[in-house]
Symmetry: C2
Subunit: 336 residues, 2 copies
Amino acid sequence: MVAVSPSPSELRDQIDRWLEGFLADRSQAVPDAGDLIAEIARVVRLGGKRLRPTFCYWGYRATGHSHDDRIVAAAASLELLHTFALVHDDIMDSALVRRGEKTTVAAHGSDIALLTGDLALVLADEGFMTSGFDAETLARGFGVYSRMRHEVIAGQYLELVTSTKEAPSEEEARRVAALKSGFYSVAEPVTIGAVLGGASETIVDSVRAYGLPLGEAFQLRDDLLGTFGDPDVVGKPVDSDIREGKRHLLFVKALARASDDDRAVLLRDWGRADLSPDEVEHLRSILVGSGAVTDIEALIQRLASAAREALDSVEIDTQARAALGSLIDSVVSRES
Amino acid sequence: MVAVSPSPSELRDQIDRWLEGFLADRSQAVPDAGDLIAEIARVVRLGGKRLRPTFCYWGYRATGHSHDDRIVAAAASLELLHTFALVHDDIMDSALVRRGEKTTVAAHGSDIALLTGDLALVLADEGFMTSGFDAETLARGFGVYSRMRHEVIAGQYLELVTSTKEAPSEEEARRVAALKSGFYSVAEPVTIGAVLGGASETIVDSVRAYGLPLGEAFQLRDDLLGTFGDPDVVGKPVDSDIREGKRHLLFVKALARASDDDRAVLLRDWGRADLSPDEVEHLRSILVGSGAVTDIEALIQRLASAAREALDSVEIDTQARAALGSLIDSVVSRES
């Protein structure tokens, strides 16, 4: 018997069971693509947090609905969308390791990775549209869902463009973070949940006002972990952002605040694939010494406060409020 | 004023106008991805036949509905799905020219091509889901639509797998053709139209029985044009299937029927990128001499007859019957 409000791990288990069952079912429906689905399932199993489904679930519960299977299915399908984004991102980055294991592109080459990502995107929609909500509700939810897909692709594109600039503006770096992650990891999932729950405009606006700053905080934490995290915990190398020359806010802020000498080193070395470990370490020390890391940490705290304020200012289900509140802490203080 | 039954060119114009308007609108909605949408629009403009939308449109009209804007939108969105398939296919094939112009991968590199294809897939769904049909009808149509997306990706995958085999069976070659093109170019589009029109099960079954053989005939004609067509009319090189070593039914049949000497040449040279024009010509003569080309032509005629029989055996709107009948001829005898 399902508890009225699942604990975080109970919710993850239900999401995982839905994912396994759905993928097995789809594999039977079109057996020709069974190998691709097996690869999607492998990538899905590597992840553990189910962050986007969890936000979606609690956005729904915020509207006062009790636990049901339909929202588990709709929410879990967002994990397949995330699989699509990761698999295609790894092709573009030529990334070899993700979550401690081989990426799809490393394991099977770029053609198979391309098709695996395509199919994950298609199956995500299918999971969403067959989640069991009535057609009207689905059509409303699909509007937000589809906007989110458009945004995440726009974010990937903007990141490509920004990465060719020597020194993007803070505004550009924050726009990439918002599109690539802010909307897509937090704000839209929680909004989709609220919309599926038939939320009033006030509630929809409030969960978005909660999700937007929290999503940006999520990405900023991600950027810090990508350079200063524990590679065993993060599950991927923590020098790749430096070697690829990622133009995120951390870099942009460091460039603006560094001394002339450090600035010259940043411009010369950031993005050199052949850096020695010592050179990577020196770049890390410039990020810290410039004050950029402290700045980003402070910004994360301000964004988290904004999310908490939005959450506190709206009348929603108390269990959902508690869960969405805990999610702020886990997003802000996570180590992977 | 729109005619009750548009001529083929009037229908194409309406489809094109919808595509231009929809892409302009989506570009405004998420301006960050405007460059990607401009590239999608460029690829869309290169094509002209709008085959899949046309089948979808007449599948709808077959159910007795008169012309309306909703079916133009839903049908036209299939062209965006086709754009997705072409753009990603060209990445895998490293194809440089398509429809007489640079492919996306040739014009912008594989990263941009990957994102362009992803966005075309997303926008196709969005166009379909915002076509204006009521939510229940859309949900039913989306079931077939999504199955079709799954099939076309499965077909791409199976083609990759088959291409690594020296001599796939006829059955394997035909399965690739069915998945990659038969379902996706004809059978599912016409079925989606019928489902959007609220067709009875009998009509749905009949339009599928029309679409399945015709779709296979379409692919077989495509394979013949890919090696024996006029490159200026086809819009791409007609030696690339040979140089890439495409394992289609034409090749498989030639291999089965050729003399021992010719068979040895086929196994040695089919798929060699560095063939001289004379060697390519010699391979063409083996395909013809083996009887494989005549065989395929005969098979195309049998499949066309099966499509015509299915069409003649069901009660549908007479204008739709005439249009679907003409489409058999244009698919079978097309030169591009």
